[in-house]
Subunit: 501 residues, 2 copies
C-alpha cells in the first residue's frame, strides 16, 4: 500500500494560495497512492474568531470543492477547520467522493478503506492510542499543535511504541512552517517497528515522499540535532516565514552591545541575509565604551549596515520639556525608562521611514520579571527570542559561535547590564540568571508554586523565590502589551498564558 506524504508550508487564512501547492501535489499523485496533507495545509492555522466569518468558510468550501473536482482516480486526505469547537474535520477525498470525519475524544479511532486495507486515522492528542482495533493495518496520525507543545522527539517516542505494540506501521504527518508566531517543525515520519524500519522527513522544510507503507526501506535517516540547534533552526525559520508571508524583506534592530540583540541580529542574518538586516546603535551618557565597540564588532562580523544615533541630546531635551514636572525630583525609574523609550521611538522612526520591520530583542527571563520598558525595549513586531530564557540565549550564542566568533566574546562574557544609570548591572535587581531561570522555568513551564519550587531547590532562598514569583505576577500587565514572541514552549507568554492583571 502506497502513501505519499506532503509536508508543505502553508499560509494562514489563504486557502486559495495554499490550493496552488495542493493542486500540483494532487496532480502528481499516482492512482494507487494515498496522498496525505497536514492539518493546516489547506487553511493554515486559523484563530477561532476568524471562523465566525461566512466569507472565510465559503472560501474554504470553494477550495475543498476544487480539491474534489480534480480527484478523479485520486485518493487523499486534507483538513478543514470545524466552526464551533476549535477542532478540525478530516476530509477523505476519493475519486470525486468526499467522506468527512470529525474527531471526538471518546470515540473509537475512525477507519477508512483504501486498497483493501483498513487505515486508522487520528489527530494527535485527541484519540486514545492505547487500544487499536485489530482490523487496523496502518495508523496515520496528524499533528495539530505547534512546536511549543512538545519537544521534537516526543511524537516519535509515543508513536513508535504504538507501532511496536500493535505491530503495524505508523505514519505521522506534521505541519511545517509558521502561522504568525506559531512554529510547526515538520519532521513527519513513517515507522514500522516490526521491521525496524523508518523514513524520517527533515525539519522546517517542504518535503514529499512516496512510501510503500508495508515495505518501508529506511532510505531517509532520522536527523540528529541537538536541542539548542533545533531551537536555533526554529527561530531562523520563524523569522523567515514571518517576513515572507507578509511580503517584507528588511529588518532593523537596536544593537546595545549586549547578548540579546547580538543573538537576534545573528539569527536575522541567517534568516534573511546580511543585506536585509540593519543595526542601530543608540549610546547614552551611561553607555560604556565597550557597548559601542562590541556592537560595532558584531555588525562587522555579520557584515551588516549599522548607524550610530546617540540619544544624549534628545534625552536632555526631554528633561527640559518635562522640567515643570521633573524639576526638583531625584533621578528615578522615570529617567531610566525615558532612555529606553527614546530608543524605541528612534527604532520605530527608522522602521517607518525605511519600511524595515523592527525586531524585538527581549528574552523570556526579562519578560517574566518585567525587566524591560513598555514602549521602549519592548517595542517591535516580532519578539524573536521572547520564549528563550537568558541562560538558553547564552547557550545559543555559544552554539552560533561554535566554529567562528560571530557574536563578540566580550558580549557573551561581560556581566549583563541595561546601562540606564551609572554602573548598573542586571544583578543589582535580579538574581544571577542560572538561579533566576531555574525558578522561572519551574513556575512558568511547570506551573509550580513557591512552596513546590523551594522544596525541590533547597539551595535557593525561599524569600528569593517568593520575590521572583511576585515580580512575575506584578508585570502581567506589561506582557499584555508585549510584542508576540516566536513560540517555543507550551507556556509562551501571550495568549497561551493569560493571568490576572
Amino acid at each position: 500500500m502506497n502513501i505519499k506524504l506532503f509536508q508543505q508550508k502553508f499560509f494562514s487564512a489563504k486557502p486559495q494560495e495554499n490550493f496552488k501547492k495542493i493542486k500540483e501535489s494532487i496532480n502528481n499523485l499516482g492512482t494507487n497512492e494515498l496522498g496525505l496533507f497536514s492539518t493546516f495545509a489547506l487553511c493554515g492555522n486559523l484563530p477561532q474568531s476568524s471562523l465566525k466569518y461566512l466569507s472565510i468558510q465559503e472560501e474554504i468550501g470553494v477550495v475543498l470543492s476544487e480539491c474534489i473536482e480534480i480527484s478523479a482516480n485520486k485518493n487523499f486526505i486534507v483538513f478543514v477547520p470545524e466552526k464551533e469547537n476549535n477542532s478540525l474535520i478530516l476530509c477523505y477525498v476519493s475519486n470525486k467522493n468526499l467522506q468527512k470525519i470529525s474527531f471526538q475524544t471518546t470515540s473509537e479511532i475512525p477507519v477508512i478503506d483504501f486498497e483493501g486495507q483498513k487505515i486508522g486515522l487520528t489527530l494527535f492528542g485527541i484519540n486514545h492510542l492505547a487500544e487499536i482495533s485489530k482490523e487496523i493495518s496502518t495508523l496515520i496520525c496528524f499533528g495539530k499543535n505547534s512546536i511549543g507543545i512538545v519537544d521534537k522527539d516526543a511524537y516519535y517516542q509515543e508513536l513508535s511504541l504504538v507501532s511496536k505494540k500493535n505491530k503495524i506501521p505508523v505514519v505521522f504527518v506534521d505541519n511545517v512552517g509558521s502561522a504568525a508566531n506559531l512554529l510547526y517543525p515538520g519532521g513527519s515520519f513513517c515507522v514500522d517497528e516490526s521491521t525496524n524500519s523508518g523514513i524520517f522527513f527533515p525539519y522546517f522544510k517542504d518535503f514529499s515522499q512516496n512510501t510503500d507503507i508495508k515495505n518501508i526501506t529506511a532510505s531517509i535517516q532520522k536527523e540528529t540535532i541537538s536541542s539548542i540547534a533545533f531551537l536555533q533552526k526554529a527561530l531562523v525559520i520563524g523569522i523567515q516565514d514571518y517576513m515572507f508571508q507578509r511580503n517584507f524583506k528588511k529588518v532593523v534592530l537596536g544593537l546595545s552591545g549586549g547578548l540579546d540583540s547580538a543573538l537576534v541580529a545573528a539569527l536575522a542574518v541567517e534568516a534573511l541575509g546580511n543585506e536585509n538586516v540593519k543595526g542601530i546603535l543608540m549610546p547614552s551618557e551611561f553607555s560604556s565604551d565597550h557597548s559601542v565597540n562590541d556592537a560595532v564588532d558584531l555588525a562587522k562580523n555579520l557584515h551588516i549596515e549599522y548607524e550610530i544615533l546617540p540619544i544624549k541630546n534628545i534625552y536632555k531635551q526631554c528633561n527640559t520639556t518635562l522640567d515643570p514636572i521633573f524639576s526638583g525630583t531625584p533621578f528615578s525609574l522615570a529617567e531610566e525608562n525615558l532612555q529606553a523609550r527614546i530608543r524605541g521611538l528612534l527604532l520605530m522612526a527608522v522602521s517607518n521611514k525605511t519600511g524595515a520591520v523592527l525586531l524585538n530583542t527581549s528574552n523570556k527571563s526579562e519578560c517574566a520579571v518585567g525587566y524591560g520598558t513598555l514602549y521602549g525595549d519592548m517595542c517591535g513586531s516580532l519578539a524573536v527570542i521572547g520564549d528563550l530564557y537568558k541562560t538558553e540565549a547564552f547557550e545559543m550564542a555559544r552554539y552560533i559561535n561554535r566554529e567562528v566568533e560571530i557574536i563578540p566574546e566580550n558580549t557573551i562574557s561581560k556581566p549583563p547590564s541595561a546601562e540606564l544609570r551609572p554602573n548598573q548591572k542586571d544583578s543589582d535587581s535580579l538574581p544571577d540568571y542560572p538561579i533566576l531561570d531555574r525558578v522561572l522555568f519551574a513556575h512558568i513551564e511547570e506551573n509550580k508554586s513557591a512552596e513546590e519550587i523551594f522544596a525541590e531547590n533547597p539551595d535557593i532562598e525561599s524569600l528569593l523565590i517568593t520575590k521572583v514569583l511576585q515580580m512575575v505576577a506584578n508585570c502581567e500587565y506589561k506582557r499584555r502589551q508585549a510584542a508576540p514572541c516566536l513560540k517555543l514552549k507550551p507556556s509562551s507568554f501571550g495568549i497561551e498564558r493569560l493571568m490576572p492583571f
Copy 2:
C-alpha cells in the same frame, strides 16, 4: 421560601479577600434563608492559565472549607472554578454539608431540596431552559458572562418568559464589578410573572436583599436607564474598580482638545474625583490654537490640574538625531508617528514620575482601522473607551453635557483631526464616522463580510466597504499590542477577538 441574594463586588484571584465579605453575609443569614452568592463572588473571574497552579486551587479549597466551617444551620450557594474546562462548579453548602454540582450542556437542570421545595439551578447559557421539569418550584439562574455578552435587558427578557411559561418564580444572580477589563453589571432580580411581581437590584452596586420567593412584593422597581447612560455608568465603574483593586489613586491622560480625550477625562473625574485626574497638553507645530484652548476649557470645566508640555523642541531634536537616516526624505508617516510617540513618551514619563496611571483614550473605530500610533497614542494601562465606536463617543459626550457644558461644545462640533500634519482631518483618510461605524459594526459585532454589508447597505459604495475591511485586517498586529479596553461588547478587541496577524 426565603432567599437572600448577595450581589457583591469581588476581587479576582483573591479568595481570602472575598471571603471576608462572604463570611459576614453568611453570618447574617437566617436559618430558613437560602443565601445566593454570584458565580465569581468567591474567586473572581480567573483566567484559565491561573488554574494550572496548585497554589490558587489550594487557596480556593481552604476558603471553601472555611465557608463550610461556618455553615451550621445555614444554607447557601457559592461557586468555585472547574480546573479543566473553563467552567464552574456550584457548591450548595447546607448545615456543614457540601453538595457539588457541575454543569453540562446536555444534562437536565440540576435540582436541590430546600425547605421542602425543589429548586432548579442553572448557569446562564449552559442549560436549556425550554423544558423545565414540573417538580421545580423555583428556578435560580446564575450569570457568568461579562457585560459585553448581552444588553442589559436580555437576561430579564429571557427569564421572565421562563417564569411566565412555567408559572414559577425565577431568580437571576449576576456578578457585579470588574475583573481587570471585564465588567459585570449586577442588576440581579427575582420575578414571578404569575403574580406580576418582581424585585430588581441596582446596577454596579453591592446590594443584598431578603425575599420571600413565593410572595414577592415588588418593593424595588426596575431601574430605567438609557443604553448610553448604562454604558457611561459601566465605564465609570470600570475605571473605579480597576484603580481600587490595584491600590491606585491618580490618573494622567493627554488632552488634545479632541473628543476622545475629553470624554475619557470626564469619565475619569466622575470615577475618581477631579483631584485625582491630571491632563497633559502637548501641542506641536501642527496643533491649531483651538486644540489648546478647547483642552484648557475642558480642564477648567472639570476643575482638574493640567500642564502644557510643547513637543516642538523634542521633535526638532529627534529629527536632528535621525538626520543620517531621514536626510533628504520627504515628510511622511514616520514624522507623523514620531510626534504621537513623543507624546506617548512624555505621558509615560509623567506616569512613572508621579505614580499616576496613564489612561488610554483610543476609541473602537480608530482601533479597528489602525488610525492610531503604536507606542504613541496607543500607550496606556487601560483603554477606557476602546470598545466604544466614535459615533457612540459623540453620543456619550452629549449625554454627559445633558445639563451643563462639561465637554466644550467646540470639541464636539469641530471636525475630528489627529493634527499630525498641516490641516489634517480624519476625513482625509477615513469615511465619515457614521458611515464608517455602520460598516465596522456590521463586520466586527455581526461578523459580516463585505458582500453581506453591501447587500444590507446599498447606499455605501462596495469599494469603500472592501477598503475598510482590508484596513481592519491589516492592523490586527497593532491590536495585539494595544492597551486592554473596558469590555462593553461581545467582540471587543483583545483576547475576545483574535484574527490572523
